[in-house]
């Protein structure tokens, strides 16, 4: 479901029917996305889904094979015209996964060089370098070389260098993937603070769905070069349109049970789960159950499945319990700390209605 968009010219970024082919392989297939000014768009998907290629086309480092990219109403790349506005001439900045700091320049030199290229005066340059160094809290590092500072500090320098020329579009290529877990969470809020402070429109590529859900105003889930679903993070969680989106987003992951219709019920492993009316007209379907809709142990007279205990992880006073039913991994919730020995029999009770139903091909079935 597309977010509210006003007249096309007002969109900060508008991607239409974008295709990128490398030889016979299509890395990006018919992508359509537009976001308003100030949006934080996250492109999320497994590795090889085309998200980095899409970002590089936005940056002007790759030519599209077909389709069009427009920034604030101005076409910057198209399948017919190639890269119309050069990487440097599209008012966009890119933070590289590798940081790409120039090793022969100091921190201040790295930040000032793009300004020099853009012909800022020396006084303006110095003032701006001081300003962004302060914004990122790295003023003390200004005369160090990139090899002399830590990974987290390099990351801050890379961001400072990118925002220094005040681009109206900020592009991030998995910027946090080289940081350790604690630093990553810290930089996440740091990045959002900078996004708000600069007022720029950001596009952020990641394979980490947690980053996508916490940072984004808009999320595009990519798979095999296609946009599986595009919308606000909450909408994607609430109403996934495909099983791919449903299983990719959310912690703990949602459960998908393949079921077959037996008379007026859908049945999994001889256990009747939902009324056939839930996906009327389908003989087989996949039912989506959230972890919180599956209780460990017998609850009331709900539908119960029995499986073998695999693992449990405590989360916010509850336990996330994973059970193997045949080859299927199912995750349910238990109160308190749950302990068992792997292989133990564990019963799972399902709530009366599933969250959603999908065809066997993965498309959502609306009742």
């Amino acid at each position: 479901m597309a977010p509210a968009s006003t007249a096309p010219a007002q969109d900060a970024i508008r991607i239409s029917q974008l295709v990128k082919r490398f030889g016979d392989v299509s890395a990006v297939k018919d992508v359509n996305i537009s976001v308003p000014r100030g949006a934080f768009l996250v492109l999320v998907g497994p590795s090889g889904c085309g998200k980095s290629t899409l970002l590089r086309m936005l940056a002007g480092l790759e030519e599209p094979s077909a389709g069009e990219i427009a920034f604030v109403g101005r076409t910057v790349s198209s399948g017919t015209g190639g890269v119309i506005a050069d990487a440097g001439a599209r008012d966009a900045g890119l933070v590289f996964q590798s940081y790409a700091l120039w090793p022969h320049m100091t921190v201040a030199g790295n930040i000032a060089w793009p300004l020099k290229v853009a012909r800022w005066s020396k006084a303006d340059r110095n003032a701006r370098v001081d300003e962004v160094l302060a914004l990122l809290g790295i003023s003390a590092l200004r005369d160090r070389y990139p090899a002399e500072i830590s990974g987290g500090q390099q990351q801050r320098v890379a961001i400072a260098r990118t925002i220094a020329p005040k681009p109206s579009i900020l592009l991030f290529d998995e910027p946090l993937s080289n940081l350790d877990a604690k630093l990553r969470i810290e930089m996440r809020s740091e990045l959002m603070r900078i996004h708000r402070a600069t007022g720029a429109t950001s596009v952020y590529v990641t394979h980490d769905q947690v980053e996508a859900m916490t940072m984004a105003s808009h999320v595009a889930v990519l798979n095999h070069g296609r946009v599986e679903q595009f919308g606000a993070p909450i909408d994607l969680l609430r109403r996934p349109t495909t099983t791919f989106v449903a299983s990719f987003l959310g912690t703990p992951p949602a459960n998908l049970l393949p079921v077959t219709r037996v008379q007026d019920r859908f049945v999994f492993a001889d256990v009747a789960l939902a009324p056939a009316a839930f996906a009327a007209g389908h003989e087989r379907a996949q039912l989506l159950y959230r972890a919180q809709d599956i209780a460990v142990g017998r609850v009331g007279d709900g539908h119960q499945l029995v499986g073998r205990f695999a693992e449990a992880a405590p989360i916010a006073g509850q336990s996330m319990v994973t059970v193997m039913v045949g080859d299927l991994r199912l995750t349910g919730m238990a109160e308190g700390f749950f302990t068992a020995t792997p292989g133990d029999e564990v019963g799972l009770s399902f709530s009366s209605t599933p969250d959603a139903a999908f065809t066997m091909e993965g498309e959502r079935i609306d009742p």
């Binding site: 940056a59 120039w102 090793p103 090899a147």
Partner: protein, 579 residues
Amino acid sequence: MTSHALVSGRAPLLRANRVLPLVLSVVIALLVAAPLVKILLATLTPDGLQAWTTVLASPLSANLWWRPLLTTMLLGLGVAAGCLLVGGFLAWLVTLTDLPGRGLVATLSTLPFMIPSFAGALAWGTLFRNERLGGSPGFFQANGFDVPDWLAWGLAPTMIVLIAHYFSLAYTIIAAALSSVGADLIEAGQVAGARRGRIFFGIVLPVVTPALIAAASLTFAGAVANFAAPALLGLPVRMQTLSTRLFGMIETGETERGFVLALLLIAVSAALLFFSDRLVAGRKAFTTVTGKGGRIKRFPLGAWRWPLFAVALVIGLATSVLPVLVLAASSLAPQGGALFSNWTLHFWIGEGGDALAQGQAGLFRNPMIVEALWNTLKLGLTVALTTMLLGLALAYTIVRNKGTWLAAVLSQLAFLPLLVPSIAFAAAYIALFGAPIGPLPSLYGTFALLVLAATAHNLPYAVQSGRSVLGQISNDIEESARLTGAGLLTRLVFIIFPLTIRGLLAGAILVFVKMVRDLSLVVLLFTATSPVLSMVAYRYASEGFMQFANAITLVILLICLAASLAAHLIQTRVQKWKQ
């Protein structure tokens, strides 16, 4: 496993650990430090002090020192500049552009370093020699081109031949540096709005500057120390460099003056290497900061792709294939001016006594040359063995005693020969071993002396490869084998031997190649009675028997190429499991 077994197993090792460094210290002091100290002392005797005055401040000093110094510096600067231009240009084409046939150009660019510089000088003479000195003219002169003196003899041809030899060294260093410039660094510049030229001068060039300085100083030092090229192309017209002057002094018995020149040559070469090392050390030695990396950004050459490919191909062929072809043709042609007619195998296998070559027999029928061939192989193999053994022992001791003054001294001494041009090193050996020491006879002119000098001079390479070989066996690897219960012998056979043997062999082969094609070390240390091939070739060339000189050079080349090929095969097999 009990602690008792561990202790008793380690005790002899500990003892060996104390003896080995001592033995090595003595050996390396004798091999490296003693000759250099002795040559200095030899110039501090009354005769020696007189020689200093003669060389530096006398009516003779212009000829003995200042003019050779000027020529040497010009040669060094010219060669360094030429190597940077040619090697840098080819490295840029191969690593950063979409040039067609990059693999071919890369291979051709590394070949010339395998070809000894006297092969290049001989090939140059075969083509460009003019009638100024009599004898049979070269190919171009004989076919109606009037080759001017400056192109036939002296500084210009010496410089060209040395550039053709050393540019591949510059190429290797610069290409390695350029390939570390990741695509991200360049794209970050593009996103900042910088144009091609700005990116090249603002990012690529500064990042590889340390490599450029290293390449310039190494090629400069190589040119300054080279003996063969100036001797073959410069001496006939009285162009003297420091190394030919030094050779001439010792040949004519002015030993002290020769020693003084050797010390001065060492000072010039060492000062340069030392300062260039300081220049790139410390903060300026940029390490590229990279997470992903590895991806290379190739600039499209557009319409220039094929013309530039042609230029690169011509440079590669002219410096590697052409000299070999010229030498081969010349060794078959009775007339230097008609390289491609009347071919005969006389110079290879002909019987003596006929009109050709003043009645001398062909290469393989001349017992002196056959002996030289065996001498050469024997020398190469012996030095490869001694150098690698000593190098490995030194590397082991340096690594195990890391952080102690002993390790520091040993590694400084082991790398000292790198700063000493080989002809000056040979002079130092003459100073020490040229006269009987106490009851020991003079070693001058013996095979043993050459082995000692060559071992010492190749030590830096041997220690380096010893270190990298030892780097293959971490303590973890050995310990994990020990935890399975494998005894020392089992570990040696199944873990240590397979991990090190290939690296050791590759290192040994490189030393072998360096020895087989070496002229500047053997030219002072060997006598006519037991010659090696390079000496014989040099002597034939000086006497004007170009076909013999060229044929022998070709034999040297073939040995070197075969050995290099073997080293290459072994090295790729060494890295097989790393892919």
